[in-house]
Symmetry: C2
Subunit: 249 residues, 2 copies
Amino acid sequence: MISKAQIKHILSLHNKKNRLEEKLFIVEGTKIVTELIASNTYKIHSIYHTNSFDITQKDLKKIAFEINEKELEQISTLSNPNQVLALVHLNEKEIYTIDANQCYIALDEIKDPGNMGTIIRTAEWFGINTIFCSSTCVEYTNPKVIMASMGSFLRVKIYYINLEKFLSEDLNMPIIGASLQGENLYESTMSKNGLLVIGSESHGISKNIEKYITKSIKIPEFGNAESLNASIANAIIISEWKRQHYGRK
Amino acid sequence: MISKAQIKHILSLHNKKNRLEEKLFIVEGTKIVTELIASNTYKIHSIYHTNSFDITQKDLKKIAFEINEKELEQISTLSNPNQVLALVHLNEKEIYTIDANQCYIALDEIKDPGNMGTIIRTAEWFGINTIFCSSTCVEYTNPKVIMASMGSFLRVKIYYINLEKFLSEDLNMPIIGASLQGENLYESTMSKNGLLVIGSESHGISKNIEKYITKSIKIPEFGNAESLNASIANAIIISEWKRQHYGRK
């Protein structure tokens, strides 16, 4: 059973403004909610599930509501809801630390939630545990980001920062950016550590960010496509970055 | 001006069934429609545009209708329509030919239109001009595929086939597939030619297709993510494939 007030509350969280005001967001689907419960990374506010989704944890039973398929459809952000929807508390802002020996990603105005989620998922695959986002990026608690991240948002730390100010400080590592004037990625020599900056879908890396790039690279082009999708460019560069250090010598 | 009948007709083409029956599909936005007009790859049925989009070609003026923003919003498949929407005739089915010296992609049950469009765009970037799709893939004339392809659907040939039958014939080239049991991509030696099979988002390469894979590779994993997005895996493998032949020796 779900009350009209609960439905109204959940639907209000489909909207960014309300998510940020209430510091609550929506996580959906059996796979991601199961990982969410297991991870203890976020405090769960409430869980709405059909009878096919089991809640075994005692403390969660108190905040779990069994609903029917039709009710789930009413509150879901998905066209094909999948058994369970959880409301989750946004964590308090943490202070980040930087280890100059590690790899990082910085996103400069990534607006598409699918791209953001895919970049988080790809980052985790390649062992990159921290992503810095300009304040103009889509919020990672957008339901489409959560879905595209496939649970990786639970394990990758995501910080929203003033990217220009952040880069103006001495990070003591290469700042890598893709550019059409850059060095051929396949002929580049990449340092083991560094920060990869991914520019926006519509205009690439911003002018005020570009000046901080210390290593500019270009993904070689073999056809006539004008550009690559931002999450694809991110993946290709990171894969080559890792290959240079962990592949066959 | 646009008539009620025209609006009804265009809205009917938001639906797959009607697109296939009428052999018409929708292409939207200034960039892609401009490329569509220039390319001559498809016959244009009609163009609906606001006064900010110019049509200079005489023959197109006859099938162009100037509409206002509100009318465009009514007929558009986008949440932010962009000046112009065209209805386009699907081409007659062509017979494909295979050159055993080239690179190809085969998609096995790719259902997500964003993935399909991104794969088409990535293929063009890397000079792969032909994609074979199992009949269970999303149709490439889905408006979200067209948008994600960013115009590359105009230049990459896309064939829907019986993939199992296709692979059972002797293609005379390596059939490459990603698998968790495969050889480390970074330590593999890839032939210059070949066909890369990309499996479905939910269960990878189908059992009946797997047996035709002659080169099984694995993208090395550095974190705890369970898998990579299909269009990301496609891009990483193709980039490494090209690097082995065109990168620094």
